[in-house]
Amino acid sequence: MNNGSEMRRIVTAWVIVSVIGDLLWWFLVGPHVPPGNMTTSAHWNQFDFNILAITALPVVFMVWIWLGYAVVKWRDKPGVPEPLGGEAAKASRGVQVGWITITSTVVIAAAIYGTVALIGDHGSGGGEGPNPVWAPPGAIAANTAALAGKATWSPTGNQPLVVQVIAQQWKFTYRYPAFGGMETDRLVLPVKTVVVFDVTSLDVIHDFWAYQLSVKADANPGVNNVAFANTQQTGQFMVRCDELCGIWHGAMYNSGRVLSKTAFMAWATKTEAQNAQNTAFLPPFAWTYTPDANGASGGLYPDGNVTPYSPYDVYGAKQPAS
């Protein structure tokens, strides 16, 4: 068999397998790839995954088919001609330049596509640090207003909802500055709403991973890590800590819900009233909280004070009228 027909067989097999593989992926697997469609970023991240998958599959098949063909045909058995040596075996310039050009093009195209997807979807749900640059309209203004104590949200308007995620060993709690700064241990969100997550930690580094929302942001002590989501569907979602944070890291999870706007408003108003007494103890809403003098991260303030500080000493919270 001459070179030409051998290469033709390999390329034909590769094209057929790749087309079948890509079609199967796109239509059978792709729609089920997590994280789903609960937010716009979940949707686009799924799309992005599938784009990468149908780019990657032909590359994988190319190497596998080549390896398989080599093992079957180009092995030491009777009838296989001696390999070529010397000049005849040298890599031609065309092959080398072609390979480098094609791989470079694919790689740079992937990087450009990833950048467009990242910027176009306002950071894709990833933590953008304290100073986000790719934000949905109005989100940064809403976040600044929340710090000034002027956060509002109503089911009729289109304002973004600011939610603070406070991680600590080994629990997430959530503050809603638009609802009197209440802090709850469950994350409830309204649908069709831009949500601004201000993620911070009280002790070590955690990672807030709202799986179906496609939001992931490290919770760093003393740092506000901002991420955005635009909810599209109601339903339950899972929240897990995704950064090793000590022995109970594996048990640091809970679930949250996306509700209709009116149901969310009802939940929020009710919870705000229920929690009002506790909320009075909390420090004012801020983007970060310094661990208290008792040493939230294990005694970092060894000032010799053996009596634990009370919340009144630490936060300056008002004593409730007895």
Binding site: W64, W74, G85, G114, G126, P132, P221, G250
Partner: protein, 654 residues
């Protein structure tokens, strides 16, 4: 002319290793018990630990913070420090510098004869290579047992075998031990043994530093292992602060362990780098250097340049722990991002320290078994150096979701994806070398093919991880875990196995049993893939790394993965059995050149004489000129050399 020719070329192996006691020889190579060897190292290491611990207690017990929390980290640290110093004193690693310090000349340092040289501070690179073989296998075995424990715990999502503290201790210890092992698994045993043989040198540039690198590597094993007795550390191998600051004394073993291993990595890298640059035989221009040596050169550069950052980061962590500085303490003006950046600035080149030697092994071995020249030699060398260079510019992709400057993310996405280009070179070279070859499917070749299969999956999933939008889902999940096991275990460990099966006949003069080797290969290949491929799916379905509880619907996949992992563990037992059987129980003498290689390392006598080559070879042509009738031999050994080396190469052509 190179420095390696400093010995008279007529020296023969016989005269270089006189038997019996030698007058004026140094303590490290005196025969008998009254000398320095592994036993004295253990004794002095133990005494050093006791002394250091006493010293720390004597000195620091009254410090306010120690008196308050009842944990004397200073004592733990000084115990470990003095243990390492005692270990090095005991083995004799410090004899030479101490004598020089006092202006005295050390005695004769030629290696002691016989088996005992493997238990001593021996300056022969071949002995150091063999010591490393045992050392890294011990590391690998320890880490592997811990992996079995992890998979056992994950058999059930809610019923636990270990308590969470023990589990995280096991996970952290597994990761750290395996990472430390993987930095040296090829550079240590094969790099030290083979580089001088492959470049036609009689020795390494700095034999004392080379021996030192092994003995400090083994001290590092003791230090990191000691964490288990201190209650472990909860941070995984990444050691993130402030969890690091919060952790107990096991963290000191981690930080000091990495510092100790780091010294070993730096010294090994430095020595090999200088050796390759300066000790190549006459005629070995850069375009005639064997591909394995290129890969070790790239790796040694990374070891030399990246490890100091790790060492410094560990030092900062120790200071935070022991003298209450606040490098990583946010509230006191430090930054936990500092650790993340320092760690990954080392950590990403580290990843390629664990990939490049594998590329080198396959590039070296594949032409031998396909009987073809290496396809696109220059592209292969450029690929390795390109990967090494780019690896310094990608580290922040580990921090995509950490809250770094958001506009840094496209940049690091680009640099990370660019690294696929030089990695692709390695595939061009591999696939091209298979093209119309005459492949001999021996055990080493099978392991090489498996590397191409596995690393492809590991590499492609790396592109998914580097894409920031997709990274939001897969970061920190089992997807990442599977990705790096595919590159490090599927790549490097498979390549190491290829290297062992291929070069052990040279290193020991004994063939590995082929039948057992085939069993080992197929079980390892199949169960490796069955263990780790499901983890990609587990990760995409939402299971974070390092957890002991997971969603009920993932139990099926986890159990499948665990059972495969046990079978994978069993395949390593097959390997150990093969090693015992072929090397000790039923050794079969290896032919001088069992694979009919043209490589220089196969052309010295067997066993390799102390000074490797009776005459320094002159390299006359490119390597890998297989299937080229009439091609000159790779090296000219001068007329009538005892090994008849120059004729082996040409006889292979026929």
């Amino acid at each position: 002319m190179t420095i390696s020719a400093e010995r008279p070329t007529e020296a023969t192996a016989g005269t270089a290793t006189p038997a019996g006691p030698r007058k004026g020889s140094s303590w490290t190579n005196r025969p008998g018990w009254m000398s320095q060897h592994l036993g004295t190292a253990i004794v002095l290491g133990f005494l050093g630990y006791l002394f250091g611990h006493w010293w720390g207690n004597y000195m620091a017990s009254s410090y306010t913070y120690i008196a308050n929390n009842g944990q004397n980290g200073v004592a733990d640290f000084l115990g470990l420090l003095c243990m390492v110093i005692g270990w090095l004193l005991g083995i004799g690693a410090l004899n030479y510098p101490i004598l020089k310090l006092f202006g005295r000349e050390p005695g004769e340092e030629a290696p002691a004869p016989g088996l005992s040289r493997y238990f001593r501070y021996t300056l022969d690179h071949k002995v150091v290579g063999m010591q490393y073989v045992v050392g890294v296998l011990l590391f690998l075995f320890t880490g592997g047992l811990l992996a079995m424990a992890i998979r056992t715990e994950l058999l059930n999502p809610t019923v636990h075998i270990f308590n969470p503290g023990t589990y995280i201790e096991i996970v952290s210890e597994h990761g750290t031990i395996m990472m430390m092992m993987a930095t040296s698994i090829v550079v240590g045993p094969l790099g030290n043994y083979l580089v001088p043989l492959m470049i036609g040198s009689r020795r390494m540039a700095f034999p004392r530093i080379e021996a030192f690198s092994f003995w400090i590597f083994s001290a590092g094993y003791l230090v990191i292992f000691s964490a288990l007795f201190y209650g472990g550390f909860p941070t995984g191998w990444t050691g993130y602060a402030p969890l690091q600051n919060q952790a107990g004394p096991g963290m000191i073993s981690y930080l000091f362990g990495f510092a100790v291993i780091g010294i070993g990595m730096m010294s090994a890298g430095f020595n090999i780098l200088v050796t390759i640059v300066n000790y190549r035989a006459p005629g070995m221009t850069w375009s005639r250097v064997p591909m394995f040596v290129w890969s070790i050169l790239a790796t040694a550069s990374l070891l030399t340049l990246a490890t100091p950052v790790l060492f410094t980061a560990g030092l900062f962590g120790l200071l935070d722990h022991l003298v209450l500085t606040s490098f990583y303490v946010n509230e006191h003006g430090g930054s936990s991002y500092l650790w993340e950046n320092l760690f990954w600035f080392f950590g990403h080149p580290e990843v390629y320290i664990m990939a490049l030697p594998g590329f080198g092994i396959v590039a070296e071995i594949v032409p031998v078994f396909t009987r073809k020249p290496l396809f696109a030699y220059k592209v292969a060398a450029a690929g390795m150096m390109g990967v090494a260079l780019l690896s310094f510019f990608v580290w922040q992709h580990h921090l995509f979701q950490s809250g770094i400057n958001p506009d840094m993310r496209p940049l690091f996405m680009l640099t990370t994806e660019l690294i696929s280009i030089p990695t692709g070179f390695i595939y061009l070279v591999g696939m091209g070398s298979l093209y119309r070859g005459k492949m001999r499917l021996e055990v080493p070749m099978l392991f090489c093919l498996a590397l191409y299969f596995n690393f492809l999956i590991g590499g492609i999933t790396g592109v998914f991880l580097s894409d920031v939008p997709v990274n939001v889902t897969v970061h920190g999940s089992f997807f990442v875990l599977s990705h790096f096991h595919y590159t490090i275990m599927g790549g490097l460990v498979f390549a190491f196995m290829a290297g062992l099966y291929y070069w052990l006949p040279k290193m020991t003069g004994r063939m590995m049993n082929k039948k057992l080797g085939l069993w080992h290969f197929w079980t390892m290949f199949v169960f490796f893939n069955l263990t780790f491929f499901p983890m990609f799916i587990i990760g995409i379905l939402g299971q974070p790394r390092r957890v002991f509880e997971y969603a009920h619907n993932l139990q099926g996949l986890n159990d499948f993965s665990s059972i495969s992992a046990f079978c994978l563990g069993a395949s390593f037992l097959l390997f150990f059995w093969n090693l015992m059987y072929s090397m000790i129980i039923n050794p079969k003498k290896a032919p001088a050149n069992p694979w009919e290689s043209l490589g220089l390392e196969w052309q010295t006598a067997n066993p390799v004489p102390l000074y490797n080559f009776e005459r320094i070879p002159v390299i006359v042509t490119e390597p890998y000129r297989y299937s080229e009738p009439g091609a000159p031999a790779y090296a000219d050994f001068g007329g009538g050399s005892a090994a008849g080396a120059s004729t082996i190469g040409s006889s292979v052509q026929e």
